[in-house]
């Protein structure tokens, strides 16, 4: 499960953050669907993703599209920073009619509007009700915003803090830090643009 429905941030940030997840259903349309998932990845790659992946082959930092297509299994994922690309992606996925389930995480109102523009009827939603329990254990909001950009929690608060320290000490640039963090996101949904904006502010404090 991607944790993408729990991404955090102000509306202005979330407007520039759309995660697309393609998945087949085990025992229903998964058998022999590897080629279709590979085709989804190919279409995703055409529409300017910030980052994308075909697990378990790898993300776009470490794997070529050709390798992803060859190794595709049940899932393909990517992240986009604008609605125009998202609409064009959805239109092409609709036209391709591959039968693979497609999900988009982002602001509901905006995603629904993008679906309307693409001629799609929204089917199901998964809504986040927030975080409960010992919330005092959590770091400040900017760290939560970056940490939740990885769907599996692989970009830890500890690592973000380490990256911020390194930037402050001029050991690495903001872009290098963001790339290091994104490298932890094996599913390719880490929004590098958002992370760059947030970590720049943290490093300037």
């Amino acid at each position: 499960m991607t944790h993408s429905l729990h991404r955090r941030g102000a509306e202005d940030e979330l407007k520039r953050d759309y995660v697309v997840i393609a998945m087949t259903a085990k025992g229903i349309n998964s058998d022999g669907a590897e080629g279709k998932v590979g085709r989804v990845a190919e279409i995703m790659a055409k529409h300017n993703p910030l980052f994308y992946a075909v697990p378990p082959v790898g993300n776009s930092f470490v794997a070529s599209l050709e390798d992803m297509k060859k190794g595709a299994d049940t899932i393909a994922e990517g992240v986009y920073n604008n609605e125009d690309d998202l609409v064009e992606l959805l239109k092409e996925l609709k036209e391709a009619d591959l039968g693979v389930s497609i999900n988009v995480s982002g602001l509901f109102d905006h995603v629904f509007e993008c679906c309307r523009k693409a001629g799609l009827q929204v089917h199901t939603v998964n809504t986040s009700l927030g975080i409960f329990g010992r919330t005092e254990l959590l770091p400040s909001e900017p760290y939560l915003e970056i940490g939740t950009l990885c769907g599996h929690g692989m970009v830890s608060f500890r690592f973000i803090e380490y990256m911020v320290d390194n930037i402050k000490q001029d050991k690495i640039s903001v872009k290098e830090a963001v790339r290091s963090m994104a490298g932890h996101c094996l599913c390719g949904i880490f929004n590098l643009d958002r992370a760059e904006r947030i970590i720049s502010k943290l490093a300037a404090e």
């Binding site: 085990k26 697990p55 329990g133």
Partner: protein
């Protein structure tokens, strides 16, 4: 995970990569605290060691569940899905798992970023089991349940620490108010955090749970996940 002491030079490069602070360096050599390590393997996969001294060792039950719930690429035997997750609503257009007038609820303990012991997962499971719910069978938690009716876990897994674990179930929409209230009350008894979500099909283009959320003083965030209905064959009887 283990450190190959022959290769390690104690450079400490690996230390910040661990989400749970399980790696430390003493007397010039790194070591991994077995209790803190959740076997997420990000240290290995992110190539945190310049000399490749971090190695994956063979795990034995019950420690194996740490990798199932923490490592993105370890697939749970009962689900075939990696990263402790499930298909949940991502394939609902095809599976019809969540139907009209019913909702899916997911409680992801340990997220974001804190981790959880299975004993805390059990607390939530036992609290909601009182509603007679059926836990999602295609979830890696299912084989850990000693008694599905009570939500009691196998005793040997209770102290295992994982990055997160997701309790999933579906209920009639009319039960949602009570279940959410119980979850919020039980949150006071656990030693970690959890993320809470509700999945539902749309009705007349709207998300049909807002009135219920208002009754329990909860609010959904403006963003979430949307299945855009491109899966085929489409489940017709939703």
């Amino acid at each position: 995970m283990i450190i190959n002491r022959e290769l390690c030079i104690g450079c400490e490069t690996c230390v910040p990569h661990c989400p749970f602070g399980a790696i430390s360096v003493t007397e010039g050599v790194a070591s991994i605290n077995e209790d803190s390590c959740v076997e997420c393997r990000i240290c290995r996969r992110a190539k945190a060691c310049p000399l490749d001294a971090i190695e994956i060792n063979e795990l034995h039950y019950p420690r194996t569940i740490r990798a199932i719930f923490s490592d993105v690429f370890t697939r749970a035997p009962n689900t075939g899905v990696g990263g402790r997750g499930t298909e949940e609503m991502k394939t609902n257009d095809v599976t019809g798992r969540f139907r009209k007038d019913r909702v899916g609820v997911a409680v992801e303990l340990g997220r974001p970023g804190i981790g959880t012991r299975m004993k805390d997962v059990e607390k939530i499971a036992m609290a909601i089991a009182r509603y007679g719910i059926q836990f999602e069978p295609d979830n890696p938690i299912s084989p850990l349940l000693q008694d599905h009716a009570t939500g009691k876990f196998l005793p040997e897994v209770l102290n295992e620490r994982v990055l997160s674990a997701i309790i999933e179930f579906e209920i009639p929409r009319g039960q949602l108010k009570g279940v959410l209230g119980t979850i919020r009350e039980t949150a006071k008894e656990i030693d970690t955090v959890f993320s809470l979500d509700v999945a539902t099909v749309l009705e007349n283009g709207s998300i049909p749970i807002d009135d219920i959320l208002r009754e329990v003083n909860m609010e959904r965030r403006p963003n979430g996940k949307t299945n855009v209905g491109l899966g085929r064959p489409r489940k017709e009887d939703i």
